[in-house]
Structure formats: C-alpha cells, structure tokens
C-alpha cells in the first residue's frame, strides 16, 4: 500500500476568528505610486523564481516529447536539446506499439476498470451502511476499514501470492482485480462515509416516512446524490491503480505470465529490452504512458487536485 499513507484521524483545527480590525489605512495617491514601483522591484526575484519553477516542471516533459520524435543517430550525434529534424517521424511510436505497448494497454484496461467498478459499488454501499444506517458497532467497523490505509502492500503480498497459486488463479487477471479492489476499499469507504456525513439525515428520514425501504433510499436517493463524490473518488483510484507497479509486477511478470503485463510492468521490461540500445522507441513508449494520464488530467485538473488532496486532509 505504498500509495495510501495514513492520514490523521481528525480534521485540522479551524483557526480562531478574532474581532474585526479597523478599516485599512490608505496612503495618498503619489506615495502609493512610488510604493507600487518599489514593490514591483522587490518582487522581481519572485517572478524569476516562478519562471524557473515552470521550466523545471515542464522542460523534462517537453524534452521527452521531442525525444520520442528523434532517430537513433540524432540521439547519438546531436546535442541533447536539439529539436527533432523531422517533426512527423512517428516510426518510434509504431515500433513501440507493435512490440507490446498495445497489449499492455489492453491488459491494464482489463485489470483496472472492473476493479474500479467493484471499488465504487462496494465502497458506496459500505459507506451508506456505516453512515446512514443506524446500528451498534458501526464506528468500530469504520475503524477496521481505516486501519487498512496504514497497511503496506508488502505485508499482504506473500500470502496472496501463495493463495492465488493454490487456488489456480495465477495466470489469470483475477489476482489483480481482487487485490486492486481490496486495497482500494479502505480509502473509498472512508471517503464515502465522509461524504454521506455531509448529506442531511432528514432526507433519508423523510424518504423512510414516505415508505421507502432502506435499500430503496440507497438506490434512489443516496446513489444519485453521490455521483459527484463517486466521480472524484473513482478518478483518484484510477490514478492509483493505473500507476501501480508493485502489485502488477508480483501478480503478472513475477508469476512468469508476461502476456498479462500491465502498462507499467510492460514499460519496465520494454526499457530492459530496448532502453540501452534504442532510445526512440523507449521514449515513445514512456510518452504514450505519460500522455494518457496527462490528457485525463488536463481535462479534469481541478477535480483531480481536489480529490487527491481530499484523501489527505479530510477526517
């Protein structure tokens, strides 16, 4: 569970609000202008820092993108910051695609999306049972789920490996789906419970008075009301599962079933086969991998940022 560090059990304390201060003092106009110029000068280093920051964040990816369009001789003979000579040279991509990337992508999709669906359905149902339904011991069960956030994957890896082997699941996609679903549940249940807490209880009580069964309330009220939360949590879990290496490596390539290798495992072995010899295809393979997550992020960036950090501070 490298990707799910624990989070504190309570939200940060809200800062105390002091009494209102008097209205801010306004300097006369001439002084204000001089002050503004001075401030601009003082802030020049900050503007420079921001520019440097942007270069550091963006340049590696630009370099990667350019590299994926270069030929082998360009890598060897031209300086590393040279632009590609032929901007429409997609040979690297074709080569990467044909030597396994397409298969890996398909494997990832087959493993990740069923897991996501299970995580969401199980997680929302459990969140509803733990937060909206009224029964003794629900606090304890929620805590049991929470504990799972702390457990490192290493702790469950070996027994699972033996268990899947003994039940003859090794060599199929099931070990990945089962493990992904289980490791995604603690955070999902916890976040769903938090979201349900913010829905007024009166809503479900009113539905009950109108004659809805608890299951009906769940299906017709809770689930539709949670679409936003479900989308956010699903997005966060998608990145976790899609980017996973440890579990995928253990249950696919570790078991000697390379035909099941996911994108990340495939990329690593691709690098092993081609990396030192052929730069272009390797760069193209990395690029494909990066562009998928990047495209998703570009469309949904605010959503992703909110979801990813909510997992850290909430609760």
């Amino acid at each position: 569970m490298t990707r799910l560090p624990s989070r504190p059990a309570r939200p940060p304390m809200p800062p105390a609000r002091p009494p209102m201060p008097p209205a801010p003092f306004r300097p006369p106009a001439a002084g204000r202008r001089a002050r503004r110029a001075g401030r601009r000068l003082r802030r020049a280093p900050l503007a420079l820092a921001t520019a440097v920051l942007l270069v550091i964040e963006v340049y590696p990816l630009v370099w990667l993108l350019l590299g994926s369009l270069k030929t082998q001789s360009e890598f060897m003979n031209n300086p590393t910051w040279a632009l590609p000579t032929d901007w429409t040279n997609f040979d690297n991509y074709r080569q990467a695609w044909e030597s396994g990337v397409s298969r890996n992508l398909l494997n990832s999709v087959i493993a990740v999306f069923p897991s996501l669906a299970l995580i969401i359905v199980f997680g929302v149902a459990a969140g509803f049972a733990l937060e909206v339904m009224v029964w003794k011991g629900r606090g304890t069960v929620l805590l049991v789920f929470l504990g799972g956030i702390m457990i490192p994957s290493q702790m469950i890896l070996l027994p699972l490996f033996s268990a899947y082997f003994k039940t003859h699941l090794t060599g199929t996609v099931w070990p990945l789906i089962l493990t992904y679903t289980a490791t995604g549940l603690p955070l999902t249940v916890f976040m769903m419970a938090t979201y349900f807490r913010s829905i007024p209880k009166e809503l479900f009580e009113a539905a009950t008075i109108d004659g809805a069964s608890a299951f009906r309330s769940f299906r017709s009220i809770a689930f539709p009301m949670m679409t936003n939360a479900i989308f956010t949590v699903g997005l966060v879990q998608f990145f976790f599962l899609w980017n996973d290496l440890l579990l995928a490596m253990t249950f696919t390539s570790g078991a000697g079933h390379d035909e099941l290798a996911t994108v990340q495992v495939g990329l690593l072995s691709f690098q092993g086969r081609f990396g030192a010899v052929q730069y272009g295809p390797t760069m193209a393979a990395i690029c494909v991998n990066v562009l998928i997550t990047l495209a998703l992020y570009l469309f949904l960036n605010q959503r992703v940022m909110k979801g990813m950090t909510a997992g850290a501070v909430k609760g």
Binding site: M1, T2, P5, P8, P12, P15, P18, P21, F25, R43, T50, L53, E57, L61, M76, P79, W81, L118, A126, F128, M133, V141, F145, M150, P152, S153, Q154, M155, I156, L157, L158, P159, L160, F161, S162, K166, T179, T181, A182, L185, I209, S213, A214, S217, F218, N243, Q264, L268, Q271, Y279, I286, N289, V290, L294, Y297, N301, M308, T309, A312, V313
Partner: protein, 293 residues
C-alpha cells in the same frame, strides 16, 4: 424509522461485499503473514518451523541495517524536501500569485498523476552520461563543469532519487498546504500588517503558527508515503549500484522473490509496518502536546 434504517438484512447486504473482500484479501493475509514470520522457506521449497530465528536475524543481518538506514535517510530527506518546498510554493501561490495562481498550481501538480515508472525512466534518460549525454550532464558541461556518472555510486544515485521524488510530489504538498493557508482569515493578516508586522515576522508569528495543523498532516502523510517507497526506486535504480539504494520494501521483495525466503521476507514486512505505525503515533502525540502547551 428505526426499523427501516436499522434493518439488519439491508445492513448486511450493503456491508457484506466490501467487508468480505477487505477481510479476505487484506486482513486475513496480514495475519497469515504474521504466521510466516515463524517459518523459513517458500511455497516451492516448503516451510520449516524456525521459531524466533527470523527476528534474531533481523537484528544481526547487516543488509537489514543498511536497508533501515537507507529508508530513514530517504524518508527524512524526501519528507523535508517535499513539505518544505511545497510550503514555499504554497506561500508563493497565496502571497505573490494570489488569484492568478490557478495555472501555476495546475502545472506544478501534474507530475503527481504521471506514472511512477514513466517518470523514473524519464529521469534515467535526463541524468544519463553514456552512450548519449542527457540534458543534466549537458548543462553541467555547458556551465564549465564535468559530467557526473549519476548512477555510478550510491550517493550520486541517492540525489537523483531525491530530486525525482521531490519534483514529482512537491506540487501535491503545495496544493495541500495551500488549502490550509487560504483558510487563514484575511483580517488576521491585515491587522498584523497594521500593527507593523511585515515579511519575515508576519510569516513567523502569524502564518506559520496558523498553518501548523495542516503542516503536521502533510508531514505525517509524507513520512508514511516515503517509508513505503518502492515503485520509484525499483524503476530508477533497481536498488543499485550493488544494494546501495535499497530501502526495506525492496529488500523485502528481493528476499521473498529472488532468494525465496518468505519467512524472512514477512519479518521485514512486519518491521516496516511497525515502523510506519510507531512513526505515525509518535508524530500524533508529539504534535498534540504542542497544541495544548
């Protein structure tokens, strides 16, 4: 009302799928793993009872010591780097860029969602020395320095790992801490300014104490993540050169799958779990004292 929202059958039906999956695939294996620590061997070779030998080995094995030392060094360096740089970025967003910070925030956050393996392979190429010279070494040469064989020694490789992991996640901590800084009421800062506090003193006495709780959350979050680091180091250096950049997680993986010793591997995993637990509890208690003092 009670009857409907407390209906046992519905509760069971809704809770069972999640609880059963979670228990079967996480809780049971955890206990099973605890059982493994008293044995040596693997499913292929068969298991033999070894009592507490694995735990004795944990204290004697120099490789475990190295792995613990590396994990500690890594966790401390990266946590400090991530949270400190993230905090600086958050301050930059709030006090310099203000409302126009959305674009910068979005850009600095995106390495967070990139696949670790892809980023690791990218950094291998960025810091490469031969056969092709990567951008970092090219820049060093252009500035009159000498190209460095970054993956040739443990200490150099450590710096690449550190730079990469901080690059990857500082945007995340920046957004996390930004949320805490934005929560500081405008009027508190304004009134402190009127009282003559500026720049450093404003940061030291107002901004820093008021963002303390969210800073602690970030630290706990970060140290837990860094103690469990695996993907990025495995893909970047593979633990090498030799085993000089091998954290506990990777050592555990090697012990179990390369040397086929599940018993000792489980003991290392247990050690790791305890480490995470102790550090988190310790930080919680330490910070709670600070808040009440």
């Amino acid at each position: 009302m009670r009857q409907v929202l407390g209906d046992r059958k519905t509760i069971a039906a809704l809770l069972a799928p999640a609880l059963i999956t979670y228990s079967a695939v996480m809780l049971a294996p955890m206990l099973w793993s605890l059982g493994y620590t008293f044995f040596s061997g693997s499913p292929v070779r068969g298991f033999t009872w070894s009592g507490l030998a694995n735990f004795a080995e944990l204290f004697k094995d120099p490789k475990t010591k190295d792995a613990i030392a590396f994990t500690a060094k890594y966790a401390l360096t990266i946590t400090t780097g991530q949270v400190a740089l993230g905090y600086l970025l958050a301050l930059l967003y709030v006090f310099y860029l203000k409302r126009s910070s959305t674009l910068i925030r979005t850009l600095t956050f995106f390495p967070v969602v990139l696949p670790t393996v892809a980023v690791s392979l990218l950094f291998q190429k960025l810091f490469e020395i031969a056969p092709a010279t990567g951008p970092v070494n090219s820049a060093l040469e252009a500035l009159g320095g000498e190209a460095v064989n970054w993956f040739g020694s443990g200490s150099n490789a450590f710096w690449v790992i550190a730079i990469m992991d901080i690059w990857r996640s500082m945007g995340f901590y920046a957004v996390l801490l930004y949320a805490g800084l934005v929560d500081i009421p405008e009027d508190v800062i304004e009134s402190a300014r009127l009282d003559g506090a500026g720049g450093w003193r404003l940061a030291r006495f107002i901004v820093f104490p008021m963002s303390w709780p969210v800073l602690i959350s970030a630290l706990i979050f970060s140290i837990n993540g860094t103690l469990k680091v695996f993907d990025s180091i495995y893909a970047l250096t593979g633990g090498g050169p030799g085993s000089q950049t091998t954290p506990l997680t990777l050592y555990m993986y090697r012990t179990a799958f390369a040397y086929g010793d599940y018993g000792y591997g489980s003991s290392i995993a247990l050690l790791l779990t305890m480490l995470c637990l102790v550090v988190t509890v310790f930080m919680f208690r330490g910070t709670r004292k600070d808040l009440t003092a």
